[in-house]
Amino acid sequence: MTTVFEKTPMLTDTVLHYCPGCTHGVIHRLVAEVLEELNVGERTVGIAPVGCSVMAYNYFNCDFVQAAHGRAPAVATGVKRANPDSVVFTYQGDGDLAAIGTAETVHAAARGENITAIFVNNTIYGMTGGQMAPTTMPGQITQTSPYGRDIKAAGYPIRVCEMLATLDGTAYCERVAVDCVKNVRAAKKAIKKAFEMQLAGKGFTLVEVLSTCPTNWGLNPVESLGWLREKMMPYYPLGVYKE
């Protein structure tokens, strides 16, 4: 019998707690596969955020530090400076990376901190039950924008890749999506490139992954993928923003 598919050993056997149709799991697998392919698992330290992926430390088969909400880039900085041989990545949601942790994100990038940020943009605060996020789009309905995000009151969303691309310390940032096979492949390529650049000591790398939150979007998994394509992609265009 030939084995045609195997789970990467960089993921543990722990059953993921994510909701059905949530693409956090897909992104986990891509990161894990890349770590395995680069053969760096043993010296990798992941930084878990506060958000739905808080328990990433249970899923990845590498060392992990759980960080306070938004502080993952600062924690990653501490780990990397203490042990420059380690491969360090943060895994953060949009609330974590682009609201409470904006300062930590921008300055880790500005310093050219040699770490990789995996930024999961699902336009919403998933873990706390679907509140408006810094990436919630104009008109988008959430628990705390029940009439749709009113830009007069709540302002505009932040396009993280575009913003970070202006910084000299950012070595690489790309926005990808995990809505279909083709894009999943491209996402993996981007993630691999980010880690390769870290290994080459190039500086701050970030991959923004457009991701679904069926539970808080109030859509089923298939509808969610459609919504991601139709609503998110025009507002958050895929592509390389800094290289």
Binding site: F64, Q66, A74, V75, V79, S86, A103
Partner: protein
Amino acid sequence: MSKRILIKGNEAIAEAAIASGCRHFFGYPITPQNELAAHMSRRLPKIGGCYLQAESEVAAINMVYGASAAGVRCMTSSSSPGISLKTEGLSYLAGCDLPAVVINVQRGGPGLGSIQPSQADYFQAVKGGGHGDYRMIVLAPNSVQEMYSHTCKAFDLADQYRLTVMILTDGFLGQMMEPMTVESGQLTVDSEKDWAVGGKRGKRIVNSLFLKPADLEKSNLERFERYKLVEESEPLHEGYMLDDAEIVVAAYGATSRITRNAIDEARSQGVKAGLLRPVTVWPFPKKAFAKAAEHARAFVSAEMSMGQMIEDVELAIRCRRPVLLCSRVGGMAPEPKQIFDAILQADKEAAR
């Protein structure tokens, strides 16, 4: 071999950290601790260390959290408003049982307050400050020499008990220049950190999240077992004319030095006054106070705060004697005369 040098308190702390093997410092500018960070920025790059000016105190303490998780000796320093920002990190450090050394060169508050010396962060340091049940060992030096020796001790205690040790000092001691003896051979050896991440030693997790309440309770209870050991083994105090004192003045840090003059004055006028100086403010030297209450008729708590340490004095002596407050705040320091008057007042009160 020992060497005698003239140095500022803030710089003495920096030198002590380096002597203790600390090679990672994360800070953010704030007066009156700037000389400390500046000294680190001069020294660390020359010895293969890392000085990093963070974007905020929040980031700095979280860098300490990361570096400590990776197993190195590391430190951050700040002054009152900056320490408020660090409290989130202090709670996480405690929740993960990570060792760290944090310096607070206190200034007047609340709010932006002043840049002058103060002791008004006492509660924040010894009662918590951040969320959740946790403790820090808090050392209160009163000379430049002790700024050095306490910092060396802080790194050892932090590793030994896996907790944060704070040096609670103030703008006086930070800015003051004094001669100091540097003992060679004070460098201590890092203990094996079998919990540190990033070293090909099997999967390791540094985390303070517990989904099951029973697990979280267990982790709290285990931590408090360690705190109990600290409370049994680590309280330190210093007495001055204490053994026969009828009026005992409690004072720590810079205030304890001013108090000595008041004690001398009182003694010269026939009042049996003495000083009981907590050297560790947590653990508070409760036994020393209980013992002093056996011969003391009254206590005075001399502090540059509106009556914070006085609560620990009252608790330690179980309110068996009157305790008077003698305080100046806002960047003002008590003069010996004010403490002397408080001693006479306490003497009168005890006679009633």
